[in-house]
């Protein structure tokens, strides 16, 4: 009842305001009439009675105002009026508004989108696990650097000894062949886990049961399916539980299905199957791996006990690490790192953070430029409004209300900018492909990132603060002055040296824009150049085929026969122009260099290569078959290729790359020289005769300079994992199906997987291509912002000089003279800005050089473009308003102010 009354009143105040006002007016008139009637009744004559009543009632307007204040919702109505008033004021300065809102919107939107994606990807918890906040990851370290993992025995010790963790589970994953009779065999991501893996993560099955401790203890041959795999391959059929599927050739019983969205404990590698870790020895040829403290193949994830902090767990685990190292010696400096969260190793996190971090810096600068732009614009506007504010003050407006109005103006601009920003951010975040490329995450992780409210709030707050602070700062300045001073000053200050501060701001803005634009351009060019570089071979038509020989249980003699059969068939196949075997096919980022020595200078057994007195060269080591250089189209510069008779019975030979030759024998002929590998702990190895020099190739990374490489014949170096390299005819890759059929004809037990080399290169260059696209986009936005902002500030400044220009014109200056005066002054500011920008840019470049190899001033083309754009914008911003001002009749201009 009362709530209803209040609503009714609110409605009256806000909507039926006129009726309310009218009724109040009538009520007060009735009051006066009734009072007058009282006096009349007491014997006064009517006119006197009326006057007496009016006097006694006092100021009708004051009474009305006091009564209005009592109305519910009156404050809202007043605010609405104020907003309408402010909007009217802003409409009179459309350029200022459009620029300010656009600039803030782009800044806020970009920043919010990027930070949201960063947060959503880098700080993403594991999907579908219970309470990810109390999960911790454990990583073994030596001297602070991460080691790969824990051995099974270490894990069991830790699990028994820990008191701070309520659970500790081990896991890791690898690719194994899935063969279930439903469609072709294919590689699948298989995670081997300890028995408490699912209970530590708090995961419940979607069907059947999950792996439990008894499966670990008894090494049960069981497997759990990922929900996606279950749906895709088995149509969600619950009957698959109990069925047998083959994983890595081994029959396993399906016991259950993980819940939807669950991908295991490795964000970068979404898993499809889970098996007990203790059955690994039956799947992989690593006998004794469960009992070997050197076989570190488990990552660990723990659940903090109730109320236990990460710091306490860290403390305990470092003690346990000491105990482990004492009981089972393992070298100096062993430790265990404990960090909150699960899903990524420290290294993965760092790698993943690189691109977003770069973007975050770019976005931060962008937001900064945006805010600086708005600040400048507001300052210019405030300067123009000094007279308006002073006039209002002089006419009796309270300082508080003026201040409030300025605040409101800033808030409206910031609000509109924020609205635009949210729209833009939603657009970016809504596009899954954009999000995926920034985050660099596998698709199955399900990166449906919602726009993060807190991120948005921060971006908004920063911008709003800037907008508000700057719209108020000059107001404070004006409001403190006696209005008369401002008014007099404004009237007489036509040719006054005005706005020194403003000019400083313009110069600063030019400089800042130039730094950002030039940096963006330089990084972009660096990436472009890296992408355009010649890898040293022609990837078109090349494919690399891997064969899983271990799974098919081929021994080394059978493996040699298998590959020999391959080469034979490839030679007969008309679609194949060339084929060879190689332990590395570029790009091979996993290839790690080894020490190569001039024979006679290699360290004796027991001495580490880096301590060899004469010094060696770190070179990549490629085991290849004859025909490799032909298939790669890699020219032999001097000497010869490997031959079929370079086999185990012949003298060991090698082909070195140009760089290796230059490193080992600078300026001398390398043919006929001997090279050696360090013996390490084994027997001394026979030296190899250098029979040829091959051209350089970017073997490991497309971006780095070609490394030194030593090539050796496969027949003399058995036991290496080999890939089949095939070049199709006329630059066309041989299709995978053809190669698979060929492989099955040779040995049906062996699974083969083929990728084109172009795909491999694409995969390697993808982050850079994405980054360069982003940096390009940011550069473009920054250029736009800088241009728009600069134009706004300079043009407004010129408009303010209309009076001064009129005076000059009245004193005899020609319009052309006026325009050239304004432009030359503008250009002077641009020149100063450019000089400062160049100095700051050089500093920025040095910072960039630490981040990106190959950045150099040679890429200054972008900087030149930036300077030209800034110059043109400056000229336009000066010319357009100056010409208008110059054309104005001096009389009109002088009167107008």
């Amino acid at each position: 009842m009362r709530a209803l009354a209040i609503l009714r009143s609110l409605w009256l105040t806000l909507v039926r305001r006129e009726r309310l006002e009218q009724s109040l007016d009538e009520e007060l008139r009735a009051y006066v009439d009734l009072l007058a009637a009282e006096y009349e009744a007491a014997g006064m004559d009517p006119a006197q009675a009326r006057r007496r009543a009016l006097i006694e009632t006092g100021g009708i307007e004051q009474v009305k105002e006091a009564t209005r204040d009592a109305w519910i919702g009156h404050g809202v109505a007043t605010l609405a009026r104020e907003i309408r008033f402010t909007l009217r004021g802003l409409r009179r300065a459309p350029m200022f508004c459009i620029v300010a809102v656009a600039v803030l919107g782009i800044g806020i939107g970009g920043a919010a989108a990027i930070f949201t994606v960063i947060k959503g990807s880098l700080l993403r918890p594991l999907p579908a696990v219970t309470d990810p906040a109390t999960l911790v990851s454990l990583e073994p370290t030596r001297g602070g650097a991460s080691l790969y993992g824990f051995s099974y025995l270490d894990y069991r010790d830790l699990r028994e000894q820990t008191t701070t963790l309520s659970g500790l589970a081990g896991y890791d994953g690898t690719s194994m062949t899935l063969d279930d009779g439903r469609g072709p065999r294919r590689p699948a991501w298989v995670s081997y886990v300890t028995g408490d893996f699912f209970s530590v993560l708090g995961v419940r099955p979607a069907a059947g049961r999950l792996i439990q401790p008894s499966d670990e203890e008894e090494a049960n041959p069981v497997v759990v399916l990922a929900y996606d795999l279950w749906q895709e391959r088995y149509g969600g059929d619950p009957g698959v539980i109990g069925a047998t599927i083959r994983v890595a050739g081994q029959p396993l019983t399906v016991i259950g299905v993980a819940p939807p969205g669950f991908i295991g404990a490795m964000l970068m590698y979404p898993m499809e199957l889970w098996i007990p870790a203790t059955i690994l020895p039956t799947l992989a040829p690593m006998p004794g791996m469960m009992d070997d403290r050197g076989a570190a193949f488990l990552r660990l994830v723990g659940r903090l006990g109730p109320g236990v902090s990460v710091a306490r767990a860290r403390q305990e685990l470092s003690l346990l690490a000491e105990r482990l190292a004492a009981e089972h010696p393992r070298g100096e400096g062993y430790g265990i790192r404990v960090f909150p969260g699960a899903g990524m190793t420290v290294e993965e996190r760092a790698a993943l953070a690189r691109l977003p971090r770069l973007l975050a810096v770019a976005v931060g600068i962008l937001l900064l430029i945006a805010c600086a732009n708005v600040a400048n614009l507001s300052l210019v506007r405030a300067e123009a409004r000094r007279r308006e504010l002073a006039t209002r003050l002089a006419l009796g407006a309270s300082r508080r209300s003026l201040f409030g109005r300025l605040l409101l103006e800033g808030a409206i601009l910031a609000g509109a900018g924020a609205l635009l920003g949210v729209g833009l951010a939603r657009l970016v975040v809504g596009s899954s492909s954009v999000v995926g490329t920034i985050a660099g995450m596998p698709e199955r992780v399900g990166l449906d990132i919602a726009l993060d409210a807190r991120v948005l709030l921060v971006a908004l707050g920063v911008s709003a603060f800037t907008a508000l602070a700057v719209s108020i700062a000059p107001a404070v300045h004006v409001l403190r002055m006696p209005p008369a001073t401002v008014l007099r000053d404004g009237g007489a200050g036509a040719v006054r040296r005005r706005g020194f501060g403003q000019r400083v701001l313009v110069v600063a803005q030019i400089a800042a824009s130039l730094v950002l634009l030039a940096s963006a351009a330089i990084v972009l060019n660096t990436f472009r150049r890296a992408l355009a570089t010649d890898p040293g071979f022609d990837p078109r038509g090349l494919t690399a085929t891997a064969a899983d020989l271990a799974e098919a249980k081929l021994d080394s003699a059978e493996a040699v026969a298998y590959w020999r059969a391959w080469l034979q068939r490839a030679a007969e196949e008309p679609a194949i122009a060339g084929a060879a075997l190689a332990s590395v096919v570029p790009p091979a980022p996993w290839s790690s260099p080894r020490w190569i020595f001039r024979t006679g200078e290699e360290p004796p057994p027991g001495v580490r290569p880096e301590e060899a007195p004469a010094g060696g060269v770190r070179a990549h080591f490629a085991v290849v078959s004859p025909g490799f250089f032909d298939a790669m189209n890699l020219p032999i510069v001097v000497g010869r290729d490997f031959r079929e008779d370079d086999d185990e019975d012949a003298a060991p030979v090698a082909v070195v790359s140009r760089r290796l030759a230059a490193a080992l024998w600078p300026g001398e002929n390398p043919l006929g020289r001997l090279i050696s590998l360090p013996a390490g702990d084994g027997p001394r190895r026979p030296p190899m005769l250098v029979v040829g020099v091959a051209d350089d190739v970017r073997l490991a990374s497309i971006f780095d300079d070609p490394p030194p490489v030593a090539y050796v014949p496969a027949a003399q170096h058995p036991g290496h994992r080999l890939l089949l390299l095939v070049r199709g005819r006329e630059g066309r890759a041989v299709p995978e199906v053809t190669l698979r059929a060929m492989g099955e004809a040779i040995d049906a037990r062996v699974s083969t997987y083929t990728r084109t080399v172009s795909e491999l290169i694409d995969a390697q260059t993808r982050p850079q291509r994405v980054a360069s696209a982003w940096i390009g986009a940011f550069g473009a936005i920054a250029l736009l912002l800088a241009a728009v902002g600069l134009y706004g500030v300079v043009a407004q400044g010129v408009v303010q000089r209309t009076r001064e220009l009129a005076v000059r014109s009245a004193l005899g200056a020609t319009p052309a003279g006026l325009v050239s005066l304004v432009i030359s002054q503008g250009m002077r500011m641009a020149a100063i800005g450019a000089v400062i920008g160049a100095a700051a840019g050089a500093a920025a470049l040095r910072a960039l050089q630490t981040q990106f190899a190959g950045v150099s001033l040679a890429d200054a083309r972008g900087a030149v473009i930036a300077v030209v754009v800034v110059g043109v914008v400056m000229a336009a911003a000066c010319y357009v308003p100056a010409r208008r001002a110059a054309r104005l009749s001096p009389a009109v201009a002088l009167r107008a102010d």
Partner: protein, 111 residues
Amino acid sequence: MVDQNETPLLPGTLDLLILKALSLQPLHGLGVSRRIEQITKGAYRIGPGSLFPALHRLEQRGLLASSEGESENKRRAKYYRLTAAGRRQLEQETRTWMRVVDVMRLALEAT
């Protein structure tokens, strides 16, 4: 304006006085003022600057209702009357006020 030469008007008492003034019959603004003067033996004279904001506030809160009426000398005017909620409020506030007065008297007269 409140004539404060003798008894100050404590905060919150004006609303209570208005409710009390209207407890017998509907009154227009001036009538409320006169009625308060009468029941306080002339101690409080409420001027329009305090009266109308208070009346409007009480009406908007649903404690008073208003309707058009005609005065004794045929002038049409806005008449206020207590709503059910207003009457409840008056009773409740009266009880509270009495308790406060008793307690204060006891406290202040204690030796």
